[in-house]
């Protein structure tokens, strides 16, 4: 599972080895719930807003190699980042903080919401899946589909280890 933060600030080069810039945002398509590409910030004087799309990504690890850059329009994740998520009654569940997507096909698996600084440490950060919410202009509506389970990600040790209570 990837998070947006895994990609931000990653350097991007083209096949010839020339540095194109660094990733500053994740671009998503909310109609079919997938990450379509990334927005680049570049160093040149011209105010070009370059975007790279996932079909053109050749490989990435420490930095990313792409075929070409495009100027197509796409919806940036940063527009979602500070939106409130409210439920059908109007209560605010949390604030969008991160996006989680698949490694293989870049499909969005969920959003991580911050419930509040202290509440994050007590209960954990709320996780919502795409079929549970609708994105609006000012905030995101969470209409619980089954209403049976809610997901949280809680504070854990920095070391990755097996479950032990």
């Amino acid at each position: 599972m990837f998070r947006a933060k895994d990609f931000i600030l990653m350097d991007v080069k083209n096949v010839k080895g020339k540095k194109l810039g660094y990733i500053k945002d994740v671009l998503i398509n909310l109609n079919n719930n997938e990450v379509v590409g990334f927005a680049l910030a570049n160093y040149s004087i011209f105010n070009k807003e370059l975007k790279i799309f996932k079909e053109d990504i050749i490989a990435f690890d420490q930095y990313m190699i792409v075929n070409r850059t495009l100027k197509k329009d796409a919806f940036p994740f940063s527009k979602l980042k500070t939106l409130d998520v409210i439920d059908v009654k109007g209560n605010i569940i949390g604030v969008v903080e991160e996006i989680v997507f698949n490694k293989e096909d870049f499909k969005i698996k969920g959003l991580i919401l911050s419930t509040g600084f202290i509440k994050n440490m007590r209960i954990g950060k709320r996780v919502v899946v795409p079929k549970e919410f609708i994105v609006g202009d000012d905030n995101i509506l969470f209409y619980s589909n089954d209403g049976n389970s809610t997901f949280y990600t809680k504070i854990h040790n920095l070391k990755k280890e097996d479950d032990k209570l």
Binding site: L9, S44, I45, I112, N120, I155, N157, L158
Partner: protein, 337 residues
């Protein structure tokens, strides 16, 4: 929980011991020298990385950078400082001239000369300015003496810079060993992010102040205003501070221009403002970029706090420290959940 308790106790002991050590001048000096060498090495690191990317050996690149540093310091001492001090002496004379102009100005306006309040205000201003200039001169002389006294430490700095540049990975790996194993991945990630953002910030600030200095020098030279070198260097240095800096830098230039004639002062103001606009809206965003993504309000807060704690140097260091704290917070936020 017992193991964690033990770790906590050891950590507190280490912190207390280091605080006690800081009270001894000896250790303070050592730490000062190391910090200064580290800052110089980190600021010069982009040049080192550029040389390495061109194929030079690590040690050779370090040596080139350090030799370049020594060479340019010597250049500064031999050429610029005499001009600087010459211009500064004339600067003091010019202050006296300003005083005369203000006096004649007040005489021209009838009634002002008799006004006791106006006279006392004027006197206070003169006193304060004299005090300030005197203190500045004293401080500069004191710094020069301090510089001469710590000659041994000064000569160690180039060597430390050389090793900080050449063996930076080695040193970093050794330092990371101090931290518990489980947190080392986070520490390395934090260091990588900080390196990316801070080195970009440092280069951009240095290039920016250089550009502003050169442009200011051109403007002052063209308008035939005295002390172009001193004033453009002051303007360039003050431009490092984001919002307050350019204003502070403009004030001396306009004041000296006022000496020549009010019209040249207005021209100076216009041109300097133009430079400021070009730098602020065109050059600076491209160089500093979106990486230092902190809203202007916290930046202002940081500047005020930094100014209160450490004066001018505090203001300059406030933003890198603030950016580092933000990176640490973001990384911990990411890894904890």
């Amino acid at each position: 929980m017992n193991k964690n308790n033990k770790k906590l106790i050891i950590l507190t002991m280490v912190i207390i011991i280091s605080i006690i050590l800081l009270y001894f001048k000896f250790f303070r000096e050592i730490i000062n020298v190391m910090l200064i060498s580290f800052f110089i090495a980190y600021s010069l690191r982009p040049i080192y990385k550029f040389l390495v990317s061109r194929g030079f050996n690590k040690r050779v690149s370090s040596a080139i950078v350090v030799v370049g540093l020594i060479f340019s310091t010597l250049l500064i001492f031999i050429f610029i400082i005499p001009t600087f001090s010459n211009e500064s002496i004339n600067f003091a004379k010019s202050l006296g001239e300003i005083q005369v102009i203000v006096d004649s100005f007040s005489e021209k306006i009838n009634g002002l000369k008799e006004n006791k309040l106006f006279l006392s205000i004027l006197d206070t201003i003169y006193e304060k300015t004299d005090e300030f200039v005197l203190k500045l001169g004293n401080d500069i002389v004191e710094y020069i003496i301090l510089f001469g006294e710590s000659f041994i430490e000064i000569s160690v700095i180039p060597i430390m810079v050389y090793y900080f540049l050449a063996d930076s990975e080695l040193i970093f790996n050794r330092i990371v060993l101090l931290f518990p194993v489980s947190s080392r991945i986070v520490i390395k990630k934090i260091a990588k992010d900080m390196d990316k953002i801070l080195s970009r910030y440092i280069i951009s600030q240095l290039v920016l102040s250089l550009i502003v200095s050169i442009l200011t020098f051109a403007v002052l030279f063209y308008l035939n205003i005295s002390f172009p070198l001193v004033l453009s260097i002051i303007n360039g240095i003050f431009n490092i501070i984001p919002y307050f800096g350019p204003v502070f830098g403009m004030v001396p230039c306009v004041a000296i221009a006022l000496l020549k004639s009010p019209s040249s002062a207005i021209y100076t103001l216009m041109f300097l403002y133009l430079i400021q606009q070009i730098e602020g809206n065109i050059i600076s965003p491209k160089l500093t970029g979106d990486s230092v993504s902190i809203h202007p309000l916290p930046i202002l807060l940081l500047l005020i706090i930094g100014g209160n704690i450490g004066g001018f140097l505090g203001m300059v260091l406030a933003i890198p420290i603030g950016v580092s704290l933000k990176i640490i917070y973001e990384n911990i936020n990411y890894h904890l959940y």
